[in-house]
């Protein structure tokens, strides 16, 4: 096989130590830039734009053009992973003597793969639950949804959640379970609502509490504790083409907005995205312990009752710092509290790859021990008799 073919040249480049050094240097710069960017963008947005992205983009003010200015963490991490794999197979012999290095490198590769998987697959949400309250859903504080609810049944609501990504990308929303289509006239991640001044041109909003209101689109908020006021202007259209009217929906509007169709009562709303779970949690007690004689928090804990009808699971669980509840592929962490210690906020995380960092640490440790053992044996064997 000719040594200068394209694949070999690519493999040589990808296994180069120079590539390793370059990527690590760029990563160091990226981490500093991301840390500084958090001041303006907030933690989540800075991580999304610098660490989780493949490219860091710059958008000149007043322009819609995006200019690539730096490789993102996704690209650098991907290159380092390829660099590790190619260097491993090109330079490292497969032998017992090098076994420790193999295991260490596999562990490192798993760490990279785990981070990629987390970035792509992890879903985070929160469950704010008061003492005595039972909940079977969690909310995504950074995502919105328009929810179309059939409220006709006296005991159950039949909810359809339309994610914000669909509202941005589609003008017409249809679903086989809906007897009407929803035309999305506008969607804004953040806006300021106000009363429409008298004498202004008629609004397109013809139904609900939005009649007489107006809004102005704003840039999305960036503070970690800030909340967007999302706005959607939607128009349900019946199968025969008749419009029910144009509604203004917002997570800032609490009034019920809806209509009747074929004897069924429909409600429209815009809210934080809900993730329904097939089990429920009841907060029996929230404790906020302080060190005696001080106001320094010692412990936060939530005593919850988990009820899962699928498995007849019915038990009390104490959730506290570093001791989450793991159930049904979800992990519930004690995150925050409020309302004079009667409200507990749990962070709910679904991450199919959560075990990879632990496996990675285990393999790296094993590899180090193996390699140390090999070197020690070699050193002991080389001693003069």
């Amino acid at each position: 096989m000719p040594r200068n073919n394209l694949v070999d040249r690519l493999a040589a480049a990808l296994s180069s130590l120079k590539l390793t050094i370059a990527c690590l240097a760029l990563l160091m710069v990226l981490v500093v830039a991301c840390t500084l960017a958090q001041v303006e963008l907030g933690t989540h947005l800075a991580v999304e734009r610098y660490i989780r992205a493949f490219i860091v983009w710059w958008v000149p003010e007043g322009s819609a053009v995006r200019v690539p200015v730096f490789p993102g963490g996704g690209l650098l991490g991907g290159l380092l992973l390829l660099n590790l794999i190619f260097a491993q197979f090109r330079r490292l012999e497969l032998s017992w003597r090098k076994g420790g290095l193999w295991i260490m490198h596999i562990g490192l590769a798993l760490l990279f793969i785990g981070e990629f998987a987390t970035a792509l697959l992890q879903v985070e949400s929160n469950m704010a639950i008061e003492e005595g309250q039972t909940k079977s859903f969690s909310e995504d504080y950074r995502r919105m949804e328009v929810v179309v609810i059939d409220e006709t049944d006296k005991e159950f609501d039949d909810e359809r959640g339309i994610p914000d990504s669909r509202l941005r990308s589609s003008n017409v929303i249809t679903d086989p379970s809906l007897p009407f289509k929803l035309i999305v006239r506008a969607y804004h991640d953040n806006a300021a609502l106000s009363t429409r001044p008298a004498g202004t041109a008629p609004s397109i909003i013809t139904q609900g509490v939005g009649v007489g209101m107006t809004y102005q689109a704003l840039p999305p908020v960036t503070g970690d504790n800030d909340q967007n006021t999302a706005v959607a202007v939607v128009e349900p259209v019946l199968p025969d083409g008749r419009s029910v009217g144009v509604y203004l929906l917002s997570n800032a509007l609490g009034a019920r907005q809806g209509f009747m169709h074929e004897g069924r009562s429909w409600r429209l709303a815009l809210r934080l995205r809900h993730y329904q779970h097939p089990f429920s949690l009841t907060l029996n007690d929230f404790k906020h312990d302080l060190y005696p004689g001080t106001n320094i928090p010692k412990n936060f804990s939530s005593l919850v009752r988990l009820k899962d009808p699928r498995s007849a699971d019915d038990r009390e669980v104490l959730i506290y710092m570093n001791s989450p509840l793991r159930h049904d592929g979800l992990t519930f962490y004690q995150a925050s509290f409020g309302k004079d210690d009667t409200l507990s906020v749990l962070q709910v995380v679904r991450n199919p790859s959560w075990t990879l960092p632990y496996l990675s640490c285990l393999l790296v440790s094993l590899g180090l021990l193996w390699h140390f053992g090999v070197m020690l044996r070699k050193a002991l064997g080389a001693r003069p008799a």
Partner: protein
Amino acid sequence: MMTMRSLAGAALPVMAALLLASCGEEQITRARVPKEPLPSAAAPAMGMGGGIEAPSERPRGLVWTLPSGWTEVAGNGIRLATFVPPGGLKTEATVVALPGDSGGELANANRWRGQLGLPPTDEAGMAAARTTVSTKVGTVKIYDFTGEGAVRSRMIAAAVDTGGTTWFFKLMGEAGATQSARAGFLAIIKGLKPDAAK
């Protein structure tokens, strides 16, 4: 020993699987969620006798009296209260109070018609659909609209201006159930009184 080509052949599907897992349009979710129980209003005082319950105490400008068998559920936000007729009828009445004329009579009438899927009407059509009832809080205008379709919905809406505030009482639900609850709803409207506690 694994060649570069076979390594690439093994690595690429794994990376592709990860990327595919995160691609694609997000789906519309569907869930059947138990209704959260709303807090009930305090039970009215007993011992009045007859078919009319004692009025609840609420310093809101208007006082209403529910017929026997009707229950009141405390509202939330803009809705002040919900009246539920007896017998599990598929209809209920709501109470909302808004400052001023809230857009005007024709706009309100067309908004109600829109909620039933009816086309808007004009001043003449609105006048033809309007009846009035004299009460102790003034003249109440009442509209009765019935929707179209295989399963018809009906709305009986009442509006009264108490000087600066317009009160809206709206009975809405399945047409037959609304007809059954109509007499009780009109009794509530006719029994409206000023709130002496205000």
